[in-house]
């Protein structure tokens, strides 16, 4: 009891005497701990953000697309990787599979779209009305088109907010006007609300030009589709639905020419890419913790040398080796613990402010880890200097000048 109190008191008075030195030594750990926490929270925040973005794109969604997605390109907006395209027959067959709630095939093509002399590049998305509820897309102005509109081959268009802003600038008043795509006129039926996203590997639904697939024989003469989105009734039937659709498509296509994937697979892939990147960054930051630890070791060696005489006196008064070891080990741990705690505070402040601009999220785990790691660093890098102090022979220490 007396010894513990004395150890703490001695350390505190020593830090008090060497304030600048204590501060500079802890600074190394402070920087290390806060950069690790910040990068971890960036990783956690990014993961949450990606998950949120994908959840926003609808749940239990599967996509049939040409080519082998996990062997090649990861863009899911489609493209003729394998050369095949799906047909209207495929679409109607998939719609009959049990366990499927909605199907939205899409013909995707890069087109130029013009409005009153202004021309922009956009993605034509020839599809069915089911795309809107499936992908949680809502009209911000005007309205989305209906299944009836598709059957009636109405020449109408629903414009994604991003492309709408480029084309129209101020958006609302353009509902009902006509835009031209490849010399064909389409009346603007609605403009979608923004969904954000698109930046993390998901499709950018904000920049599509949605047109009923039957309405534009010139652009898509054979009514082919580059991708078929469909939605399972529930999570439990996803696997069965996936198998049924795969089997169905295998009747018409070679199994290597198309793939049926779950949206969550894409999400996982994207998430894992970011996790790897983040892991590398955290590992680099962790090196600064080691550097901080070496700083502590250095200072502790200096401290031991400066206090050899004192160690000798304490030994002469009956201090055991273990007493001396505890004293210096405690000081090293205390130094790095101070650094760790302040590093934690600094990173909490930065996360608090920075979360308005970046996806940052702190989790309790990183707080626990930061304090444990900094304490451990104190022990690891403090043990050698402390051992040196403890192993000094009393007579050598007391004769030391």
């Amino acid at each position: 009891m007396g010894i513990l109190l004395s150890i703490i008191k001695t350390s505190l008075s020593d830090f008090d005497r060497n304030k600048l030195r204590t501060f500079l030594t802890s600074l190394g750990i402070l920087i290390g701990v806060s950069s690790v926490i910040l990068l971890v929270s960036l990783g956690v925040g990014l993961k949450n953000y990606i998950t949120e973005q994908f959840e926003n794109l609808g749940s239990n969604i599967l996509i049939a697309m040409p080519g082998q997605i996990f062997g090649g390109d990861r863009q899911m907006t489609g493209g003729n990787f394998s050369g095949i395209t799906f047909t209207e027959k495929d679409y109607l067959a998939i719609a009959k599979v049990s366990g499927i709630k909605a199907v939205a095939p899409a013909y995707v093509k890069t087109v130029s779209v013009s409005f009153e002399g202004k021309t922009e590049i956009g993605s034509y998305y020839g599809t069915t009305a089911e795309i809107f509820p499936m992908r949680n897309l809502e009209a911000g102005y005007g309205q989305i088109f209906s299944a009836g509109d598709v059957e009636k081959r109405k020449k109408i268009i629903v414009v994604g907010p991003k492309i709408a802003e480029k084309l129209f600038g101020n958006m609302g008043s353009f509902v009902g006007k006509t835009v031209k795509i490849e010399d064909q006129g389409f009346k603007v039926s609605g403009i979608l609300k923004s969904k954000g996203g698109g930046g993390f590997g998901g499709p950018d639904f904000d920049s599509f030009l949605y047109v009923p697939y039957k309405s534009s024989p010139k652009i898509n003469q054979e009514k082919k589709f580059s991708v078929i989105n469909f939605q399972a009734d529930s999570e439990t039937v996803i696997d069965t639905v996936k198998e049924s659709v795969t089997a169905l498509l295998e009747r018409s296509y070679d199994e290597e020419d198309f793939s049926v994937i779950e949206q969550t697979q894409i999400q996982e892939t994207v998430t894992s890419i970011f996790a790897i990147l983040n892991g590398v960054l955290v590992a680099i930051a962790a090196i600064s913790l080691i550097v901080g630890g070496i700083g502590i070791m250095n200072i502790m060696y200096i401290t031991v040398t400066e206090r050899i005489r004192e160690i000798g006196i304490r030994r002469a008064m009956g201090a055991t080796r273990r007493n001396i070891l505890s004293q210096f080990l405690f000081e090293a741990v205390f130094l790095s613990f101070i650094g760790g705690s302040f590093g934690l505070i600094v990173s909490l402040v930065i996360v608090f402010i920075g979360s308005r601009y970046f996806p940052l999220a702190i989790d309790l785990m990183s707080v626990v880890v930061a304090l444990t790691v900094s304490t451990t660093i104190g022990v690891v890098f403090g043990v050698l200097p402390a051992r040196k102090a403890a192993l000094l022979s009393p007579v050598e220490a007391i004769r030391y000048e």
């Binding site: 004192e310 006196i313 009956g318 007391i398």
Partner: protein
């Protein structure tokens, strides 16, 4: 109380053996006042350090209360340093960042002793007795040499040791202050029956003691 038999202390200097102590045979009895006399470098401090368990002999045996201390581990040795011996050094050896009172109380921190008295009360009594009570909150480097040595003596006495080992306690003091300190140590021996070993350069002082031993080149002569 203390028996040294055939004690050697050998240092290796440039590959050659140097005998700081050579075949020391010595017995110190309880209540004795022993003075050790000899020229500089003859091994007086080395001998004191061995008796005070700050150092170990290269060969030979050291018995304390008939126990062979070469067989003790660090914990047991530390405990003896704490409870058995009170060391007084020529250079005072106080810790300057601790107050006078904290210095005197230092042995209690490392003590496993069951105190039959309140250590702080004893510390205050000793300070009072040595005329340094008003300095209890001062730091040692603000004290005169004589005062510092009194602090050191109070510290040595705090745990009621069985023996006081004083290695030239007056070496850093003027003769008047030195005499004062010596009287104090003598008084401990005479009034309380404290066993004392005193190292000195001064033949006169040595001869005034109950028993004196002369050393030369690591040997008792």
């Amino acid at each position: 109380m203390i028996t040294l038999a055939h004690v050697n202390k050998i240092y290796q200097i440039d590959g050659e053996e140097f005998y700081a102590l050579r075949d020391i045979n010595l017995e110190i009895k309880q209540g004795e006042f022993t003075a050790i006399l000899g020229p500089s470098g003859c091994g007086k401090s080395t001998l004191m350090h061995i008796i005070g368990l700050l150092d170990t002999p290269t060969s030979g045996t050291l018995l304390i209360n008939n126990k062979d201390i070469t067989k003790l581990d660090d914990n047991e040795l530390s405990r003896l340093r704490n409870e058995f011996a009170g060391f007084i050094f020529q250079q005072f050896n106080l810790i300057n960042k601790l107050t006078v009172l904290e210095n005197i109380m230092l042995p209690t921190i490392y003590s496993a002793k069951k105190y039959s008295y309140e250590p702080k009360t004893r510390a205050l009594e000793l300070m009072d007795r040595f005329g340094i009570l008003i300095k209890q909150k001062s730091y040692p480097n603000k004290l005169s040499g004589g005062q510092q040595q009194r602090v050191a003596i109070a510290r040595a006495l705090l745990n009621e040791p069985k023996i006081i080992l004083a290695d030239e306690p007056t070496g850093n003091l003027d003769s008047k202050t030195g005499k004062n300190i010596l009287d104090l140590i003598r008084e401990l021996n005479q009034k309380e029956g404290m066993t004392v070993v005193l190292v000195t350069h001064d033949r006169e002082i040595a001869e005034s003691c109950q028993r004196h031993i002369s050393m030369l080149d690591g040997k008792i002569v």
